[in-house]
Every structure is written in structure tokens, then in C-alpha cells.
Symmetry: C2
Subunit: 539 residues, 2 copies
């Protein structure tokens, strides 16, 4: 028997999964909660600006040191039976390091400098830089912009890197390498810097055909930014399914794995979920639903889809174009609401399930953390309309779920309008198992069946599949899928009595979506500007 | 020493106040909480439709039986020292009765019929009837419509009466009298039906110059409605400041007051507050702030003010035009929010007070109970925009306060635009004393000083003043004001550092106010229509 280990580095914790290479049986999982979690209020006692979200890379190493040994100890599987290891990560989660990979935030004199830390995917303070990138790219008619749905996000790599240059030029100067945390953890595992094509393509403007944008483009953003690729990044990119190296001596001590155990090229949580749920070709829309939602869809051809996050050839599976879209807050919104009113998800969902569509009289725009697709605007904000003195918490809870479902429908329709077919929906991630009401509402709102993946650990399973491929246990990732993926566990079918009401509500959603999201009414931006303006004296 | 008793019949309770007729000293107050309170969910175990709000007239009698004897017992004031008694009431709060004043809901076989009960001011289920009244009035170019700001409210008398006819014609047929609860309680006190000019003018289309609308108008609404005035109401209306009669035998038993004690003509809580806060002439805007807010302003001339509730010559003080406007939910919205999130007003206000204007990034439309002025539309709903994952309850609490302040500013500006001057603001009612943050925000938003009346019981004091006038203790209400009203207790001054930000936020409020309130975007009405549409099967 041979096994693979997949490690999924999420927003609050990392999950390590031990899988049978032959048939994908999930033997055990170990969860390591990050000690510092998301750092968005204070860093070493100093308040962070709004929109910031940092992490401590020590938490990632700690996950290797705890979760992998725990897996081995609990299962009794001998370390030499681990054929390979794969990792996936949130993205774009990036950090500046020294030449040897030491994070700048671990350099003593830089620990109190926020820009030395890991910028988490949901760090949204680089919107001014994203705006500048989009303006310059449009002015120069940069061809790559089309692959990002016409708008490069504040969440992506160069927005964040440019924010470091803008706000902390000394940190930018000190940083010898800048890279995705996904590649950084593989570097820690193997001792060798290896960069993956997936994040380069989805977050860093790279494509197989054109490489990175020109030096002139970067220079137009800022002369000091001109050589970022050659100075702090790399043009050598490893394809998915490849082997990054073997476990190095230090990582062997951390994990208890034998020296040289094959390590796969790093991958992204959303993209690695596609093979995990058994999808190997075009047409099936994979929604990875958690604090936020990432959507991945495969297509035979390159199409320009309005407001998608990115499209990368070979970015998910070889030979196909992988389209990525997403919603920057989903589970986070429900958690926020539970935090406001108290109670539990289970109680709220139980009462919310008794409501018929439209009964609450409420409608929300699900932009509590901006809008990633299709508007690509972190400045957008949440809205609830229809509140009355009789409105109760379960009604708002349901309206928030419905709003995220409407957001998903907008994305699906954008793909269809661009000629990228959507034949089915497969959901995975933390939310589908925890909240059946949510899945039923999504099926009703989208008017389509939704399959829920059988694995509750889809990203970690996908990472393990890539680990198995890196180890040579399967020749290709598609072979690994055929051997290791299980059929969907549950299917939600639209309730024909709900579809018409949701169609009517969706029309209202779409009109408000366009009004507030496409510049018809700028109230959200104005409120943000007032919020960020200099404090005035308080009487 | 002679005393007057003022009884203020509010939404949840009645307050009886014992006042020295000579100088207005408030000797004692007794509060009686209504046992049934607001009946808006179930009536005798049967669910009420949304938007309904009823009351039990037995609660009003119970207040007479408990609060007045308690006042006498607690103070030791001999009953014969009570020179007179005055009452004020919420309005339009109306009921159908038999010819002797027995409420239909007290007739055994009608107790389970919702339309037999008192319709409270905030009963909002008569919007279809209000819409019909407005349509017919416009078609017929009815002159009285101008005195209601161009829109007759669903809260007013004939909307509620017409709803009874529409939905329960047998109750309409059984009802021999239909009248304001204010006049009904005076009838119970004196044994004689007496109707006041104030509610007739503000709620029932009457004016001193033109009387009621024509029979043809009522017939155009419904042939069965043609003679409502002559069949179920009265054209004999008593002026404010007059004496309705003396305490009758039964009421003497209830209250402990001597038979024949003078009882003033009934009045409305908002209007009676004007003399209580010392206002006797044009220019000072009186805001009576509680669960809802009523605004009263005196003017020398009759002007058409867009969206005001009503203007009545002699309706507040003799010789002046009394303008009424208002907001249908104020304290109710804050109470709703506290009910959602738990905690207390005091805690939320303390944290909200630390925020600078604009800091929360939130903006709300304060239409949790529709909009009374200046849009006059019960179908409008509350809205919050600017929500993020970082939004905390005190921020929402403050945004809700700000929204109601913006609503007040809209009303003040409507008066000014119509040429009715506003020189100052005087606040009274339950809210100003309980929530200093609220008063400061109102001053900052309106950019004007706000005086808070010295009496915490302004309506009851005003009612007592009218009682003193009815008893002949003062020749006119203006004389009573000069003798009995005290100067304002606190004055809130606008913080110059806040005014500019609130001006900017007000511009945003006003744009959304017009967009959603004046037909630019009908989402609120559509949501209400979906909410009220027939239930569909739940899967």
C-alpha cells in the first residue's frame, strides 16, 4: 500500500489528509489551526488600516510540524509508505523574503513593519494600486488584461507588490524575493525555490504563450517596479503535475517524512479541487464554497468572459483553459451575521428554512468584502433593502444566503453569455456539508441541479492526487482522477415552486447589482471615501 | 391651590400628570401600561395579516381606573382641588362603535373580528384604500388634497374606515359611530359624544372653511361610503380649548374625580405638545420624538408643503395654521435593532458616540415603517448600504440614528422650500432625555441648535393646560402657556467639525431617498408584492 499526503493551507487553518494512492480512500485528516489566524486589527499592538489582512508564515511551518506527524502517529502508517506530498494554498497570498526564503517579517528589525508580513488573499488595501494597474494597462492596450475579464484585481500579486513599493519602498528594496505562499511552503519543504504556473497565470499576468508583461509596462507603473520579475521573481515556472523536488533535511525533521519524499509543484485550493471532485473536462462548474467562494470552469477554447478573475491555459488541467471566478465573501457573511445577532448557524438555518422565497421581503447585495466577479471591485459594499420593524434574524440570514446565490448565478450567466458552456454544478468546500438550506437555495436560485462532492476535504484530496502524480503513482492527473475520485454524495434538485419567485427576485438583484456596481450610483465608493478621510475632532 | 390632570394616551401606555394650574409645576405622574399593548401578531389566537396594528379600548378605560386614582392617592391632593382634566391621544387611532359608544369589539359575537377593534395609528394595512382615495381625489381635483401635501396617508381616518368597508362590510354596516379614540375617551369621561376639530382637520379631510369633502367624493370611492359623515360621524366639531362636558357618574366612579369636573375637548399627543414646550407662534419646529416622531410647526399663512401630513387652521393654536409632519418609525427602529443584536441602548450609544461621522461607512434609509413625510408611502422599506465584514453593531446603531436625523432634515427643508419659515427646533417626547447622542447627531445633521423641552411629559402637560383652560383657570391656551410652560432644559449645539461630513452624507441620503422613494427604482414595492403574494408549497 502506498499513500499520498495532501496539505490544504486555508484562511484559518491547514488540513493534512492521508490518502490511499490506489483508490483515493481518505484514511485520516489532521487539522492545525493557525495561532495568529488572520491579522487584520493589530500587529504587535499597532492598529492596522482598514482593508488589511496579514498572516504569519510561522503558522504555515507550524502546520507542517504538527499536522503531518499527527497523521503518521494516528494512522500508524510507516513514513516510508508515503509516496508523495502535495500542497495547495489560498491565493493570491504573497510575501517578501530574503534570497534564502526567510520572510522579511522574521527579520528582527522588520517585525513591526506591516508590509514585511504575508498579505493574505483577502487583503484589500491595494485597490489604489489595482486601479493604477488597470488604468495603465488600458492606456497601453495590454493584451493580458483580456485574460482577467478586463479588470485586474486588488487581490492579485502585482497590486499587492506595488502597494509595498508605494507605501514602504524600503521594504520593497529589502525584499530579494517576492512569491506566493504556496511556492514558499514548497521551497520550505524541498529547500529549492520552485514557482508554479497556476498562480503565475491566474494572479501574476503570466501566460504560456506570452510570458509576463513587458518591462515597459512595469516601468510605466513606477520606474522602480520595472524589473520586478527579474529582480524578485522568476521566469522559470513549473507545470502542474510536476515534481518540485524531494523533502529536504530540515523539512524531514519537521514532518517525520523520509528525506527525498517527492513533493509536487504547488497549487491553489480552488484549482486543485477540480480533479478532487472528479471533473476532467469542460462544462462542469466547480464551486469551492467556504469563507469565500472560488469557481473554476474548464473550456476548450480561450474566451473573453466579462469580469472573470482569470483564464490560464493548462492552469488547472493540461490541454484545457481553466477559468477562475469567485465571490470574495460567502461563509464570511453568514459568520458576520451570526456574530452580530448571536445564536448559531443551525438555529438560524432551521428557522430560515421555514420561510418561502420572497416571504421576508428582503433583498441583499452580497458585497460585504467587495465583489470579485463579475464586477472586480473591492470598494463595493454590502446592502440590505426591505427591512421593517417585523424583520427577524432568520429572515436576514436567509436573505444573505440568497444574495450569495444570486451572485453565483451572475457568474454562471457571464460564462454562458461569453460562450463558455456550463452543463452542471459541483459544490465542494466547507459550506455544502454544513448548510443544506444553502445548497437548496443555490439550486433554486440557479434553477439547476447541484452535486455535492463526496470528499469533505476536496482541496487536500486534490493536493494528494498531485502528490501521487509527482511520486509517479499515476502517470497524469487525469489518471489519478479516474483512480482516486469518488462520485458525488448528494444532489440538490431545484424546487419548481421556488424557481419563479427567485427569478423575480433575481431580476431585482440584477438591477441593483448594475446600479450600484457599474457606476450608476456611486454611494458605496463615496461612503468608503468618507470613511477613509482624515478623522475630525470629536466633540 | 388648584390642579389640572392631563392624560396622555400613548402607544404602549397612558401617563397621567398632576399639574399646578398657577405655574405648571408637575406634582406627580402615574403610568399605566396597556395589558394588550399593540396587537399586531395574533388576535384571540388567530394570526393577523402583516401591517396590522390593533388595540383594546378596555386598556384605555383601565388607564382611567388606575392612573387617576393613583395620582390622587400618592399626592394626597383632594379630588375637589382638580379644576379640570384634559386628554391627548395617538392619532389617527380610530374605532367603530354602537350608537352609545360601545366598541364593536366589546360586542360578544364580534370579538374575533379584527375589524371590530381599535385601529392604532401605525396600522398600515389600509395602503390600497389610501391609494384609491388619492387616485379618486386627483381625478376629481379635490381641493382638500393640497392640505395633505398631495397625498392622503394610509394611517388616516378614511383609509382605515374604507378598509373596514372593503374587507368587512358587515362590520361597517354594524358600526353606528366611527371616531377617533381621543374623542371616544372623552365620550367615556363625559357621557356625551364630542368630536374635536384637530383630528377632523388633520386626519379626516375637514377644514374650517370647507367642512368635509362632498358626498359625491365619498360615493366615488364606494357607493356604500357616500354618507359616512352623516351616518357614522358628525359635522358638529368642537374647537380646541373648549369644554367637552363634565365628568359623568360612571367616569367619576372610575377616576375618583367629582361629578362634573370640567373635561377639555380631546386633542392629539403631537399637537398638544406645542403649548407644553412653550411655543405660541410661528417659526419653531416642535419634534415630538418617541417610537415615531411627529413634527408640528405653526405658520401665519396657508402654504402647500410637499408631502406634509396636514395643515389645519386653528388646528393647534387659535389664529394660526398648524402644520403636521412626521416619521413613522424612530425609536421603534432603534428598539428593533437592539432586539436583533441584544445588548442595551446605553451600551450601543456609548460605543456609537466614539465614532466620528462617516467613520462607519454606513448609510441607511429610515423607512422601517414606511415614510410618513415627505413621501407619504407606507410601502417603503428600510435600507442599509455600506456593510462590510468589519461592520459592528454600534456602527449600525449610529447609522440608524443618523438616518432618522436625515429624515427630519428632509422635512425641515420641505417647509423652508414651501416658504414656511423654521427658526428653531424644540424636541420633546421620550427619546431626547434617554439618548443625548441622538440629540447631538440631530443638531449636527440639521446644522441647527436643538432645545429640549424641560418637561419629560410634554403631551400630558399640554393636555393638563387644556384642562386648565376648560376649567376657566386660564382664559386662553396662550395665557396658560405663559403661566405654566418652563424654559428649555438643555440646548444641543451643532459641532462645526461634524457638519460638513453630515452635509456630504445627507447628499447621498437624499439621492437614495429620491431614487427609492419617488419611483426611480421600485424594488421596495416589488419586494412587498412578492412578500404578500400567495404562499407556494415549501419543499
Amino acid at each position: 500500500m502506498t499513500y499520498a499526503v495532501g496539505i490544504d493551507f486555508g484562511t484559518e487553518s491547514a488540513r493534512a489528509l492521508l490518502v490511499d494512492c490506489a483508490d483515493g480512500t481518505e484514511v485520516a485528516v489532521a487539522v492545525h489551526v493557525y495561532e495568529s489566524g488572520v491579522i487584520d486589527e493589530q500587529l504587535n499592538g499597532v492598529s492596522l488600516e482598514p482593508e488589511w489582512a496579514l498572516q504569519d508564515p510561522a503558522d504555515y511551518v507550524s502546520a507542517l510540524q504538527h499536522a503531518v506527524p499527527q497523521l503518521l502517529a494516528e494512522t500508524g502508517v510507516p513514513p516510508e509508505s508515503i509516496a508523495g506530498i502535495g500542497v495547495d494554498f489560498t491565493s493570491c497570498t504573497m510575501l517578501p523574503t530574503l534570497a534564502d526564503g526567510t520572510p522579511l517579517c522574521m527579520v528582527d528589525e522588520l517585525r513591526s513593519e506591516p508590509h514585511a508580513w504575508v498579505k493574505l488573499w483577502k487583503h484589500h488595501a491595494a485597490q489604489p494600486e489595482a486601479d493604477r494597474i488597470n488604468a495603465v494597462a488600458e492606456e497601453r492596450a495590454e493584451g493580458w488584461l483580456r485574460r482577467y475579464g478586463g479588470r485586474y484585481s486588488s487581490e492579485w500579486f502585482f497590486s499587492k507588490a506595488l502597494q509595498i513599493l508605494d507605501e514602504a519602498p524600503e521594504i520593497y528594496a529589502r525584499s530579494e524575493r517576492m512569491l506566493e505562499a504556496a511556492d514558499w511552503i514548497v521551497w520550505r519543504l524541498t529547500g529549492v525555490e520552485t514557482r508554479n504556473m497556476c498562480t503565475a497565470g491566474y494572479k501574476a499576468m503570466w501566460s504560456k504563450r506570452d510570458g509576463f508583461p513587458s518591462r515597459a509596462f512595469f516601468a510605466a507603473l513606477d520606474p522602480r517596479f520595472a524589473d520586478i520579475v527579474d529582480e524578485k521573481m522568476s521566469r522559470a515556472l513549473a507545470p502542474l503535475g510536476g515534481r518540485a523536488g524531494g523533502v529536504c533535511e530540515r523539512a524531514a525533521r519537521w514532518t517525520g517524512l523520509p528525506l527525498g519524499t517527492p513533493v509536487a509543484v504547488a497549487n491553489v485550493d480552488a484549482h486543485v479541487s477540480v480533479p478532487a471532485v472528479g471533473v476532467t473536462g469542460p462544462g462542469r462548474f466547480v464551486a469551492i464554497m467556504g469563507t469565500s467562494t472560488c469557481d473554476v470552469l474548464l473550456g476548450d477554447e480561450l474566451a473573453a468572459v466579462d469580469g472573470m478573475c482569470g483564464v490560464v491555459e493548462d492552469g488547472v488541467l493540461p490541454g484545457l483553459h481553466g477559468y477562475e471566478a469567485g465571490q470574495s465573501a460567502v461563509g464570511d457573511i453568514f459568520a458576520w451575521f451570526v456574530g452580530q445577532v448571536g445564536g448559531t448557524h443551525v438555529e438560524l438555518a432551521r428557522e430560515a428554512a421555514r420561510l418561502r422565497p420572497g416571504e421576508s421581503g428582503l433583498l441583499a447585495l452580497d458585497w460585504w468584502n467587495g465583489n470579485r466577479s463579475v464586477l472586480v471591485d473591492a470598494d463595493l459594499r454590502g446592502l440590505i433593502v426591505g427591512l421593517t420593524l417585523a424583520t427577524r434574524p432568520p429572515e436576514i440570514y436567509r436573505a444573505l444566503i440568497e444574495a450569495t446565490a444570486f451572485g453565483t448565478r451572475v457568474i454562471i450567466e457571464a460564462f454562458e453569455q461569453a460562450g463558455v458552456p456550463v452543463d452542471g454544478i459541483v459544490a465542494c468546500g466547507g459550506l455544502p456539508d454544513r448548510n443544506p438550506l444553502l445548497m437548496q437555495i443555490y439550486a433554486d436560485v440557479c434553477g439547476r441541479e447541484i452535486e455535492v462532492a463526496s470528499s469533505a476535504q476536496a482541496p487536500a484530496l486534490g493536493a494528494a492526487m498531485f502528490g501521487a502524480v509527482a511520486a509517479g503513482e499515476h502517470a497524469t492527473i487525469v489518471d489519478a482522477v479516474h483512480a482516486m475520485a469518488a462520485p458525488p454524495r448528494v444532489t440538490y434538485t431545484p424546487d419548481s415552486g421556488h424557481v419563479a419567485t427567485y427569478d423575480a427576485l433575481y431580476r431585482e438583484y440584477l438591477r441593483l447589482h448594475d446600479l450600484f456596481g457599474r457606476g450608476g450610483d456611486d454611494v458605496m465608493r463615496t461612503l468608503k471615501a468618507l470613511q477613509l478621510s482624515n478623522p475630525v475632532a470629536i466633540s
